[in-house]
């Protein structure tokens, strides 16, 4: 099958993506997209995915975190494009540039410090104790191993 390509000129990151160049803005990806369907500034005619493909870089990198990675777009793209994959790569760039929501950096810190994604407060453990479940606490061995993995994969919890 011949792939139809159109040029998205504004955004340098987006321009380099082979996946993005397959998009001809048919909006099939957006019929089930939770962002296009629910965020008021997007419509099926001017959808989240195609807007991000055509937006200025700073806007793209800020808004990309609305993507739920639900892969409805991958399911419905007639060009075999993979918008959710493109967005995962864009999230990484966004994270490195400090443009991700604060909650993502906080989550990264929490996971590296404790091995789990939530604080293990007294309330949680009181509930767990009542149910006869083991206490939820930071596991030093686990978090030590995760910090080594973070170092080896250049994963930082703060932007320099």
């Amino acid at each position: 099958m011949e792939i139809i390509k159109i040029k998205y000129s504004k955004d340098n990151i987006i321009k380099q993506s082979e996946e993005v160049q397959r998009c001809f803005k048919c909006s099939a990806c957006s019929i089930f997209c939770p962002v296009t369907l629910n965020v008021s500034r997007y419509t099926l005619e001017d959808a989240f995915i195609s807007q991000l493909y055509g937006a200025e870089e700073s806007k793209t990198l800020k808004d990309v975190w609305m993507c739920c990675n639900c892969e409805k777009c991958i399911m419905s793209c007639p060009q075999d494009g993979e918008p959710a994959e493109v967005f995962t790569n864009l999230k990484q760039l966004s994270y490195q540039r400090g443009l991700a929501p604060d909650s993502v950096y906080a989550l990264a810190k929490q996971v590296l410090n404790t091995g789990i994604a939530y604080e293990t407060g007294a309330k949680v453990n009181a509930d767990r104790k009542k149910m006869g479940l083991k206490e939820l606490s930071a596991n030093e061995n686990v978090s030590k191993e995760l910090r080594i993995i973070a170092e080896r994969t250049a994963f930082k919890t703060e932007v320099a």
């Binding site: 089930f32 939770p34 962002v35 369907l37 629910n38 965020v39 008021s40 990309v64 975190w65 609305m66 993507c67 739920c68 990675n69 639900c70 892969e71 409805k72 991958i74 399911m75 967005f87 995962t88 790569n89 864009l90 999230k91 990484q92 966004s94 994270y95 991700a100 929501p101 909650s103 993502v104 989550l107 990264a108 996971v111 091995g115 789990i116 994604a117 939530y118 293990t120 949680v124 509930d127 767990r128 149910m131 006869g132 479940l133 939820l136 596991n139 061995n141 686990v142 978090s143 191993e145 995760l146 080594i148 993995i149 973070a150 080896r152 994969t153 250049a154 994963f155």
Partner: protein, 296 residues
């Protein structure tokens, strides 16, 4: 008895401990034995941390898989997010020798190696593939006759379908078969495959998040006659349970008759004869007068 290493994840132990407790109590009754494991970490999640750093995400997931490999046991989880991360990582590393070598280069620093020898399944897949719906039906102690259930399998249990192989992501039926095996009636509805919109919540877009939650709940309420919504994902659960309260501020019609959200394990618990108190209904945010339960 089929035996699995229990990957609890983070959200269930921290936010829905009643689901963890119930799973440990009742899954043996349907033939699933769970072994707990202290060395697992966060999966990590496929929406935020996969985006933050792909290699970190892959390597941490591979570390969890390597722990199961050391034990020689397949993994079972109750969470769509954990399933997605671990099963997708498994598939990616099995497919690419290059990626596997890169990840193992990281894991050797902590004395671990990913080989690719274990399977990862969600409880819903274990029920479908190992237990079987007919077998499940024969174990039910209190069939949920009369209860109408709108199922929400959740996106990360359905996609990528070539990896998860659970159901048709455009017209899922397997969760409904589970519901039917418990004696309840599954209702079909047009927004069944719509995403719960969890990232809209994570970025703090309240207006969009409320709209997303209300869309599905109002579809269920206005078009199905369902008494409850049921899901096997802690993020979807929280969206529709806690989120229903928030959404009802923008959509007052949601206040008239709230739709309880019952976790897959909780629904199973009811069918195994547990009471609402015993499944932890008290811990839910949406717990209307139990008129709906009188139908059973």
């Amino acid at each position: 008895m089929t035996k699995y290493l229990f990957f609890k994840g983070c959200t269930i132990p921290a936010k829905l401990p009643n689901v963890e407790k119930l799973a440990l109590d009742i899954l043996p009754e349907i033939g699933i034995e769970l072994q707990e494991e202290e060395q697992f970490s966060c999966c990590p999640d496929p929406v935020q941390l996969e985006g933050a750093n792909h290699y970190f995400w892959l390597a941490v997931a591979a570390r969890n898989l390597a722990i199961a490999e050391e034990k020689g046991m397949d993994i079972m989880t109750l969470c769509n997010g954990c399933l997605n991360t671990l099963a997708v990582t498994n598939a990616k590393l099995q497919k690419s020798a290059e990626l596997k070598a890169a990840v193992n280069n990281v894991l050797k620093e902590i004395g671990k190696e990913y080989k690719g020898t274990v399977k990862v399944k969600h409880l819903m897949q274990v029920i479908k593939e190992d237990i079987g719906y007919e077998n499940l039906k024969s174990k039910v102690k209190k069939p949920l006759h009369g209860l109408k259930v709108a199922s929400h399998p959740g996106c990360h249990l359905l996609m990528p379908d070539e990896v998860l192989k659970y159901d048709d992501p455009t017209d899922p039926q397997e969760y409904d078969k589970f519901v039917s095996a418990l004696g309840a009636t599954a209702v079909d509805y047009i927004t069944k495959v719509d995403c719960c919109g969890v990232a809209l919540n994570l970025v703090g877009d309240k207006e969009a998040n409320n709209k997303c939650i209300a869309n599905k709940l109002l579809d269920i309420k206005n078009h199905t006659g369902a008494h409850i919504l049921s899901t096997g994902c802690p993020f979807c659960f929280t969206q529709f349970d806690m989120g229903q309260i928030m959404a009802s501020r923008d959509y007052p019609e949601l206040k008239d008759s709230k739709i309880p959200v019952i976790y897959a394990v909780e629904l199973l618990g009811l069918a195994m004869g547990k009471s609402l108190d015993e499944i932890g209904y008290k811990t839910h945010r949406i717990k209307p007068e139990i008129k709906v339960w009188e139908v059973m």
